[in-house]
Every structure is written in C-alpha cells, then in structure tokens.
Amino acid sequence: MKNIATMSRRGFIKLAGFTCGYAVLGFNMTREAVASTLEFIGIRQQSVYDADRKVYAIRKSQENPMIKKLYAKDGFLHEGPCGHESHHLLHTHYSDRSAGLKALKAKGVKLAL
C-alpha cells in the first residue's frame, strides 16, 4: 500500500469508506446467520413446549394410564421400576472404548479433546 501521508484526501476517504462498509456489512451478515440458526432451533423448541401444554392431556409420566397398567400389581413389570424384569429388559451396562482412542493418538492424530 502507498504511504498514507502521500495518499490523496479523496483516496483516503474512499479507502476508509470501503473498510467501514465491509466491516459493518460483514459483521451484520455474520450476526444474521448466527441469529437465524438460533431462531430456527428456538422455534422448534417453543413448538415442543406449546404441544406439552396444549396437545397432551396428561403432563406427568406417572399419571399415564398405560404406565400405571405396566407397573400395576398384575402388570407386566409388577415389581415396579428398577425391579428384576426391568433390569433385564430396560437397563444396560457400558464399555470402555478408550483403547481405540489411545491407539489413534499414538499414531499422531490430534483431536479436539
């Protein structure tokens, strides 16, 4: 770039104008893009809470008649939640998957964590 001291007044204003224009425009475009994504997720989230209040007649799991039937004295899970049959069908255990990760890091692969 030419020395700013030797730059014409007109040239300086033009340059400053462009710089400001790009800065403001760029900032606004980024802000709009971020806002639109947030808004988009927000609308779906709001719709979920609206349905919770307006579409569903019952709002607590323990009041669902089909849940009461499942856990009733003569029901399929008559021992209640976390009973023996529940543990067999509905609970699980977890594995340690870190070995593969260690091998990957040993190969020199960098990860974000």
Binding site: S36, T37, L38, F40, I41, G42, I43, R44, Q45, Q46, S47, V48, Y49, D50, A51, D52, R53, V55, Y56, I58, R59, K60, S61, Q62, E63, N64, P65, M66, I67, K69, L70, Y71, F76, G80, P81, C82, S86, H88, L89, L90, H91, T92, H93, Y94, S95, D96, R97, S98, G100, L101, A103, L104, V109, K110, L111, A112, L113
Partner: protein
C-alpha cells in the same frame, strides 16, 4: 383402551405396491442429503463410518470442523478437503452434515431398502417407533412452517405406509422417567452408586462418555434410552398385548438422529431374545418414504397411535428438546420426594437454548435438588472434568450432544436457508475452483 388387537394389513399396502426398493449400495438423495443404501447387521458399530465426506463436493471451508465436538473431522487431503479420521473418534452426531454449506457430507447407512421389503412381506409385522423430536421436524419436508407439530399426521402416514403396529417411542420416554427417576432416588437415598447421575438417552453422548471419560461410567444412568427400551418391550410385552409373536415383528426406530443407527447395532441390544431394534432411520428418510408412497401428508387426518405402547404425556414429548428429560424427571422426583402434588408442571428454570444451565430446585420435605442441563459435548466435557476432579455438587446432569437437543439433531430436515445457500455457494465454489485449477494448470 385395553390392549390392542392389531389390524395389520393382510396384503401389501396399496401405496407401496408399485415401489421398487433401492438396491444395496445404491446412492439415494433424501431431503438434500445423500444416503448409501446399506443395512448392516451383526457388525461391531464401532468400526462403521455413519457419515463421511464426499471429497469431490468438499471445498475445504472447515465449517464441519468447527461444529465437531471431538475433532474427528479434519483436513485430510492436500486441497484442504475434510474427512473423518477414524470411527473411533466420531460420535456420529451428524452436526457436520447438518452444517456443511456445500452438502458434501453423506450418510453411509440407510435401512430404507430393507424396510420397503419388510413392508411387502406378509409374514412380517412392521412396528413403528418414532421419537418425540421427529414430529416437530417432519412437517418441514412438506412445506409446513418450522417446528409445526405433526404427531397425529405422522401416525396416519405410518399406518398408510403399511406399518402394522403404530407404537410410539414417547411411551417409553414415560417408562424412562419411571426407571431413571427411581434410579436417581435410589442413588440419593441409599448412595449405592455415585452422584451426579448423568442421563443416558443420547447415543452420541453415551459413546462420547465411553470413549473420552470411561472412568465416569458408574455415573451414567444404567437405564437404556427410550428407543432401547421400546425395542425389547415391543417384542415381549407388546407381543403379549397384541397377540403377535415377537419373532414376527420388525421394529423400526425413527429418529431425529444419526447416532441412533449406532445404538441400534449395539450387540447387547437383544434382551427380548431377538434383535431389539431391527432398523433405524431418521426424519429425512421417513419424509422420503412418505413422498415415495405418494401420500398427501399436509392434508392427512390425525390419528392416535395403537394403545398400550403408544399413549404418552407432555413429559414424554419434551424429551425432544434440551432440558426436557430433566424437566420430565423433576415432575416425578418432586412428587416422590415431597409427597405433595406438583400443581404447575412447568419447571422453566431448566429450559435452555444452548450451553450449560444450572438450577437449584427447592423440594419440600427434602431440601434442594441441584441439577445441570447441557447441550454440545464441548460444554459437557467441562462438567465431566468437574466430576472427574470430585468437584461436582450436582445430583443429576442431562447431556444432549446436539445444541438445543434432539429437535436440532443431525437427522432432522436441514434448515431451508442452509439448503438454498448450499446450492448457491457450491455453484460459486465450483466456478472458483475451476478457475484456480486452470490458472495453476
């Protein structure tokens, strides 16, 4: 309301009779995303790439990398194109796919071909198991406004597609609250397992915890996710209720998610004596099936799911958003711990947009329940580090991989703006690339 004698169709459903299922290995575009038709079975899911980058379409902008919580997607080619380094590091959340401005990331697993075959098989009863968040995204594929609730239309569409039993994963969200809430109360009262208790509904988060924080496994709730509960319940309790043998059932998990395809393939998911989950698809694939069948989705009447394994509550539907599992669990915990009735079920302090949200919930006759709600795994890692250091004071922590929760899952319809800009930007990028190549060449 007692039981449900299924009225599954004897012949092939009219809508799908003329439809040829796509062949294995074929590539099909569904709602702006390319899928490879592949139905893996009996394979260790830890070795499968569920999403991958098409290097032809990748412009090397790095947008995917900035949305990846683990750093599994990174620069792998000389021109800056990205790729997934190894399935080990990928939690299959699909956020890279949902945020790629060039539509360059595709899915490597799609069961739609097999599902179309099963729908035509008179000896198989196909069971529908849609997740809460699907009904807040599906309508967008048919031009309805963002977030429109289409639960009733979705059930009707599934019935018309030829699904024999319309069961709903929201019902097992209610079961999850009963099981996970009880587990939390046991941890608080008896101290048999360490606190805080982490939720285990999100398959991306579970794989993340197993890979990056295996020392915290004891903190993870032992409860399966709602879908991993509905699979075995359908083939045992559901068989009893409907009079259809579990071995005749083909269970289809319908999810807003890519990582659920990994979860469905976990070898331990066979508690019913069969594979608990036979196929997993996401919202975009369901929309494709409905369009292929020529169903006028927008004008469908609204129908209820089949009872017993279909009826659900507001507590179940909020599983679809970040903070929802927490709020649903608190609606139970409050009543059990205090012995009182919770007059207003809205617990707004735990509702959250993104990041980490913490709250102290005063419960009469008990004290304070300390909770944290987090979405985005980089944020979750901060809470994990606290737990690891023994500095966490929470009772219960809800983690969702996708920012905002399942409604923003990697399997949901893409944002319309993203689809349009993707087309525009990829055209510009192609011109630029050709121009640079010519100049260099």
């Amino acid at each position: 309301m007692s039981g449900c004698k299924a009225k599954h169709p004897a012949a092939a459903p009219a809508y799908l009779s003329g439809l040829e299922p796509p062949a294995t290995g074929q590539r099909v575009e569904m709602e702006g995303v390319t899928y490879k038709i592949a139905a893996p079975r009996g394979i260790d899911p830890g070795t499968i790439f569920f999403v991958q980058v098409d290097t032809e379409k990748c412009m090397g902008c790095g947008e995917c990398e900035s949305h990846c919580p683990t750093g599994a997607i990174q620069e792998m080619h000389p021109d800056g194109q990205r790729g997934i380094v190894d399935p080990v590091a990928c939690v299959n959340c699909g956020q890279c796919l949902a945020n790629c401005p060039y539509g360059a990331i595709h899915e490597e697993v799609s069961y739609v071909g097999e599902i179309l075959e099963k729908l035509r098989d008179p000896d198989t009863v196909v069971v529908s198991m849609p997740a809460p968040a699907v009904r807040y995204g599906l309508g967008e594929c048919f031009g309805m406004p963002t977030g429109t609730y289409v639960g009733g239309k979705m059930h009707t569409a599934l019935r018309r597609l030829g699904f024999g039993l319309i069961w709903d994963n929201e019902w097992t969200a209610d079961v999850t609250i009963m099981e996970e809430g009880t587990e939390l109360l046991e941890r608080v009262k008896h101290g048999n397992k360490p606190l805080p208790q982490f939720t285990s509904c999100c398959p991306g988060w579970v794989k993340f915890a197993e890979t990056f924080y295996p020392d915290l496994n004891e903190h993870l709730s032992t409860c399966k996710s709602p879908i991993a509960m509905l699979g075995p319940l359908a083939k045992t309790y559901g068989a009893e209720q409907s009079g259809i043998a579990g071995k005749k059932m083909y269970t289809v998990s319908i999810m807003p998610c890519v990582a659920k395809k990994f979860e469905g393939l976990r070898p331990e998911m066979n508690a019913s004596g069969h594979r608990d989950i036979d196929a997993t698809i996401n919202t975009r694939e369901l929309a494709w099936l409905i369009k292929q069948a020529g169903i006028d989705f927008v004008n469908l009447p609204e129908e209820e799911p089949d009872p017993a394994l279909g009826m659900s509550t507001g507590a179940a539907t909020i599983f679809g958003t970040s903070g929802g599992v927490m709020e649903a669990a608190l609606r139970l915990a409050y009543e059990v711990l205090s012995g009182d009735t919770l007059a207003n079920p809205d617990i707004k302090v735990v509702r959250t947009h993104e990041g980490i949200n913490t709250a102290d919930i005063p419960v009469p006759n008990f004290g304070t329940v300390k909770v944290a709600v987090v979405s985005g795994l980089q944020n979750a890692a901060k809470l994990c580090d606290e737990v690891r250091a023994g500095k966490s004071s929470y009772h219960f922590i809800e983690v969702m991989t996708c920012p905002g929760g399942c409604v923003n899952g990697g399997g949901q319809p893409l944002e319309p703006g993203m689809l349009q800009s993707s087309l525009f930007r990829s055209t510009i990028a192609k011109i630029n690339r050709r121009y640079t190549q010519r100049r260099v060449g």
